[in-house]
Subunit: 482 residues, 2 copies
């Protein structure tokens, strides 16, 4: 363990967050929304903490981050970001109480989108913007984590991406994380920018367009409107957001390759193809299920089905319809979407398409093996054979997900939630979706969850977002032994 | 495929069932319950079908059952038994309609215990007995299947038992299935007999004692009483049945070894220890959760908690309390029990302790691997290293379970069931438990399930009971190719 370098990294992160609070500060001053002093003091405190962390640690160009340090940097980075990011909410009085402020901030940084706020439109504009900026930063963190860090830690099958990281360095065994990150961030920034323009061009106010774009690309789902995208009831906005949610649910290295001229990459990549097919199938099923029952027009049924399915499967969590009023089949499909999630290497959560495909292929292989007991069988992804160790690490990942899911649901049940709400609130947080069913349904809000429950869900968001292992290993005594 | 020998086997099975209907026939005549003629004609029809099957197939001492034939024999055997077993229900008018009669019979042979009957006490005594005999036979089938057949088919980790089958043959590579079966049936018969005596000695009528014992050992859960064991409200009966349900949930080879003098085997066997610890933990949790809320006396709370937990985790399905009125935590624990199930090699269903342990160990190994990326890691069971292929086959099994579970639940949702009922009715049937929650709760009944739903659930019972693969491979075109 190189605690020195770990805390130095956290210090830099805190400084960065402090500096970036100047954006909401400017907005606050321009709009005179009354939050300026609160944000100003937040910046001061954040900078002070950051400087302090840099002062107590030394610059040490020789020390390298090893496997273990990587895990600690990631987890502590997210936890610390949650604490610092919460300061403006507390100092401006937008949210009272550490639990609620930390819940909202972690929901942002983990791009979950679960909110405890009842009246977002009543908040200072600068604070609404800060909330969106948090999600946008969270998304940037996730891209680097999932494409540049997790593959090298060997977490839950992400090893498969080792060779696929688009790296400007020729020697692929040593891709330079910062170069990869910069490249992918350019893609992320460009798509965000494009979405702002398209929403603005359609008549959305610049402020709302920026906020929605900032919360779409990280598949976050915070909205400056209390009723989310349903506020507009506008097919154009729905269409634009559906497309950008889908883009956000696709592996960002594919976007990079698309920009580099591989125009058919979405269809060629087996994971992407599977993801798009699943989305299409679920949209069709939900459309047919709600058409004539909830909506009289087929087009309307399709529009609402597409929005909700895409929003949930990409784990964004924007809402245009109260799907709790839909038939049970549609609700059940949306629950399945929560679990499946989007592509690995995207900003989306859930179990992820890559793993779902490999799990299914593995199941099929066993059927084949029973029919042909002496045949040698392998699981392939595209044309590559997936080594058994990688399958094993996906299974390990999957079972931990399930165990933590069950334990968390039991805790939620023990503090008095009904069965659906216990189960779904955990799913909505561990898969980083946001809205769920029951007391945390699309028209409800996490404010009603009791104190203990909020902390359980905060832990779930972190677990899910950091692919479980990154958090769990830190809790093992084994990890801290020399 | 040796269709000849497969159908010959089915013919023998049908004959056997026909002959065994003479037991209820005698009861019917003695008790003059009015079902005698119906049962008589059922015997005639069954014998006719059996003889016909033997006539159209030839005795061929040279042909061996291979892997593939084994699968077909098992699945077709169960399906055929369900059809023949249903005849007495139809001929005596006890159940009208093939769907309901087949549902009840398959629920019996798969030892599920889900019932469509509303008034069991109003049925002819002979038919009630036949229902219990079906479950008892189902249990005998399962013991042979899980200890003597599945290990050799290599289904879902059961390979681990290959070496453990208590076989009188010295050469362990060629254990003679029929000898193993006979040995285990003796154990099964002895325990059943002991339970009849204990229940009878406590004051239960002989008829009820026999029926309950016949439905305990196969972890079936049919009862001659409409309100199941709750009818008696008797601590002695509860205690006896709790102990025998637990015994039924333990691997029958351990019982055999216990009888042979290994008195500490339950504590020494890692799977059994884990099973008993889990049961103890869940009983404690439920007791503490319902004490003071549902029951004022701690002893009463413990008694009802123990009964329900043991009944559900062994997938028996007897009921002494309306657990739908319990706090959500207790209900959630019972759902977890449904999924976990009892030990492999017992008559119980669910995912099974063996697999649960290996899944957890596998998850832990991955945590270890991330902390020590260069260490060589293995998963052990007791002192034996579990080969990766076996882990792989457990995972394959597990994912198929999940996929079929999700698809079946979606179908149930699409035909109009509420969410909890869709989910739980499938769980209660695929894990062969019986009673569930929602519209199939402990005080309800499967009669309300629509036509399509009943067939889906019949399929689920069969899938779960035959460890999925045995049914699924028959549906693959691959299987039927030469």
């Amino acid at each position: 363990m190189h605690l020195n370098i770990i805390f130095r990294f956290v210090g830099i992160l805190v400084l960065f967050l402090g500096v970036s609070m100047s954006a909401p500060l400017m907005v606050s001053i321009i709009m005179a929304d009354g939050a300026s002093w609160g944000i100003f003091y937040s910046i001061l405190l954040s900078l002070a903490i950051g400087v302090l962390l840099l002062l107590v640690t030394q610059k040490d160009p020789d020390s390298h981050l090893n496997h273990r340090d990587g895990v600690a940097v990631v987890t502590l980075g997210w936890v610390a970001a949650g604490l610092v990011g919460a300061i403006p909410f507390l100092f401006t009085g937008a949210i009272s109480g550490l639990t609620d402020a930390y819940f909202e901030t972690m929901s942002g940084f983990t791009t979950t989108g679960a909110t405890i706020l009842r009246d977002i439109e009543g908040l200072p504009r600068s604070i609404v913007l800060w909330r969106s900026i948090i999600q946008w930063f969270g998304g940037m963190g996730i891209i680097v984590l999932s494409i540049a860090i997790l593959p090298f830690l060997g977490v839950g099958g992400m090893q498969l991406y080792k060779a696929e990281v688009p790296s400007p360095v020729v020697d692929k065994l040593k891709p330079r994380i910062s170069d990869t990150a910069k490249m992918l961030w350019k893609v992320y920034l460009s798509i965000t920018f494009l979405q702002v323009i398209l929403l603005f061009a359609g008549g959305m106010s610049l402020f709302d367009a920026v906020n929605h774009a900032f919360c779409t690309m990280p598949t976050g789902g915070f909205s400056p409107k209390n009723s989310s995208i349903a506020y507009y009831n506008n097919s154009y906005f729905d269409g634009v957001i559906i497309i950008f949610m889908l883009l956000a649910g696709i592996n960002f290295s594919l976007h990079y390759r698309l920009i580099k001229g591989e125009f058919t990459i979405f269809g060629k990549d087996p994971e992407c193809r599977f993801f798009l097919i699943i989305v299409a199938v679920f949209i069709t099923m939900v459309t047919l299920n709600i058409y004539g029952v909830v909506y009289d027009s087929f087009t309307t049924a399709f529009r609402f089905a597409a929005f909700q399915v895409v929003s949930i499967i990409t784990t964004t969590g924007f809402v245009t319809a109260d799907f709790e009023a839909w038939p049970i089949l549609s609700q059940s499909i949306l629950i399945v979407c929560m679990f499946l999630g989007s592509m690995a290497g995207s900003t989306g959560g859930g179990i992820k398409t890559l793993r779902v495909i490999l799990l299914i292929k593995h199941g099929y292989r066993e059927i084949f093996r029973i029919i042909h007991p002496h045949a040698v069988t392998t699981v392939k992804m595209g044309r590559r054979v997936v080594p058994p160790e990688i399958l094993g690490s996906i299974w390990g990942f999957f079972i931990l997900y399930l165990i933590l899911f069950v334990i968390s649901s039991l805790i939620m049940a023990s503090i008095g939630l009904d069965m659906i709400s216990s189960f779904i609130s955990v799913a909505a947080c561990i898969f980083n979706v946001g809205p769920g069913l029951g007391i945390v349904g699309p028209m409800d809000n996490y404010q009603v969850i009791p104190f203990t429950g909020k902390w359980v869900l905060i832990f779930c968001m972190l677990l899910g977002r950091l692919e479980i292992y990154t958090v769990i290993v830190l809790l093992m005594p084994e990890y801290w032994r020399k």
